[in-house]
Amino acid sequence: MDPILRVQGVSKRFGGVEALKDVSLEVKRGSITGLIGPNGSGKSTLFNVITGFYKPDSGSVYFEGKRIDGLNPNEIYNMGIARTFQIPRLFGSLTILENMMLSPKGQRGESLVKAPFKKVWLDEEIQLANEVKNLLKEFDMDGLYKVYASELSGGHIKMVETSKGILGRAKLILLDEPTAGVHYAVGRNLFEYINYLRKSRDLTFFIVEHRIELLFDYVDYVYVLHMGRVLSQGTPDEVASDPKVIEAYIGGA
């Protein structure tokens, strides 16, 4: 079974700084793959390359066998890769309902020409709203649909942020430090939820995380980045006992 995401020899340089140097990795379908590394090792840059914000100086990125480096972020989303941000980027003056209704792709009502004609998009809208309702019920938030995103509490914001890709029928979800800044218990809840989603909806997750002890309980495979290079890879146990990794975290950077 070939990997859902393949990064091959990607390098990216910003001025004098080499953020990524010849990075190659694979994410297997249906897995939870982790990406760890000290600060500044290039994790966010890699995410940005995969999601189309940067064009790699060299190398390529393949999603389901198709080449995606150089495409625009919105095209990549439409191919099935969703991405969340470390500091959640929700739309503050929109309600939660509206925020979540933005995830599904290819909505007929979103085209300028079709929008004034309610008949064209009404059925789709109601169907999507039902899906949103079910999803919100799953984490007990369906009473909050009217609340503006700017008024949500931190835990709820994280849940909404993490669920952004689901309604969009994404196949691969990239999570950028999903438990950043939250209480340990909330973080564990989040990972339980991610695990549940992986099984129930057949999703693949690629997660950048700093809370290694939490991450290692859930991931199948881990990559370690250090100074823009892949330092080590393997199962959590393999990586945890790799002396290079220990040195990178305790020593050097």
């Binding site: 914000f53 940067y54 064009k55 150089g70 625009n72």
Partner: protein, 325 residues
């Protein structure tokens, strides 16, 4: 050709004196100040008002001082009343721009009203006039008769920019201004007061723009629309400097003034373009600059290069061509 060069230099002096403070104010406060044109107008009018009001020939130091002071004061007041409250509550850049437009309209028409009243009181035309400045029209230097006003403008501009450079690089306040512009948090941690720095920046910005207006009044007739008639070109100069780069803004003023005065003459002579087509050229330069070197992320845009669709279409077309061959 000589007269065009002289014209160009006049304009260069004026535009640089008007555009550099605009860049400085944007850089430091992130406010694109549409009221900037008013500072220019007021600066141009102060010597007029003094000379007509007191019926004297205005001595140069007085003109310089009062213009600068009035411009600075106006800018500072605008900041305190308009920008400061908005900045404190972290308003969007658009809000600040519109607020500056509001200030622009208010000040401009208050000035119109003032001129109307003064014109009636003093019984002299004030809406399209020239100041009476105490400066001889020509001086003989090394046997050549030189237009004093031109020489004065040139000297003044050079001195002002020399002082400005020294101020920004050598003095503590100047470096504070640069610090606030480049990295606000770091500056504040180092104990620099943002409010105080902003006030000083606005004072300089308004004052210099007023001096630019003063130069204009030496050179041409002034009217309450003076500032607005040049504000576009001034913006163009700043845009060439990416709205944040001071030396580039100065270069921008050279580019704009030369295209307005030299290029237009060529176009006129070879293509019959009318002379008052000048603003057109400035706009053209402005749009070209934004197209060719869009400062990615500047002013809050998308922080990366969005690859336009037609590039992929073009590539597809190329591939089709290759296949066919």
């Amino acid at each position: 050709m000589m007269s065009e060069l002289i014209n160009m230099t006049w304009y260069m002096c004026m535009y640089s004196l008007m555009a550099v403070p605009l860049t400085l104010s944007y850089r430091t406060s992130r406010v694109l100040n549409f009221a900037h044109g008013v500072y220019i107008t007021i600066g141009a009018y102060i010597p007029v008002l003094i000379s007509k009001g007191l019926s004297i020939k205005v001595p140069i130091p007085l003109a310089l001082f009062t213009s600068f002071a009035t411009g600075a004061l106006l800018a500072v007041i605008t900041h305190i009343l308009v920008f400061s409250p908005l900045i404190k509550r972290r308003s969007a850049p658009v809000t600040l721009m519109i607020a500056s437009m509001g200030a622009w309209i208010f000040i401009k028409y208050m000035f119109y009203a003032l001129l109307g009243v003064l014109q009636k009181m003093w019984m002299t035309p004030l809406f399209y006039t020239s100041p009476n400045i105490d400066i001889p029209s020509t001086i003989t230097l090394v046997g050549i008769s030189v237009d004093t006003k031109f020489l004065f403008a040139l000297t003044l501009t050079s001195i002002v920019f020399l002082l400005l450079t020294l101020f920004l690089t050598k003095t503590k306040t100047g470096m504070a201004i640069r610090a606030v512009a480049d990295n606000l948090e770091l500056a504040q941690i180092s104990g620099i007061s943002r409010e105080r720095t902003l006030v000083i920046t606005w004072a300089i910005s308004g004052g210099l723009a007023a001096i630019g207006g003063l130069i204009w009044s030496l050179f041409a007739y002034v009217s309450p629309e003076t500032g607005d008639s040049v504000i576009l070109q001034v913006f163009a100069c700043s845009v060439i400097g990416g709205l944040v780069n001071l030396p580039l803004t100065f270069v921008g003023s050279i580019i704009i003034s030369s295209s307005e005065n030299i290029l237009i003459v060529f176009l006129h002579n070879y293509l019959g373009t009318p002379l008052s087509f000048r603003p057109f050229i400035s706009f053209f330069v402005l749009v070209m600059t934004i197209l060719v070197r869009p400062p990615a992320g500047a002013g809050g845009g998308l922080p990366y290069r969005y690859f336009p669709k037609f590039k992929t279409l073009y590539e597809r077309a190329l591939r089709v061509k290759k296949n066919n061959v």
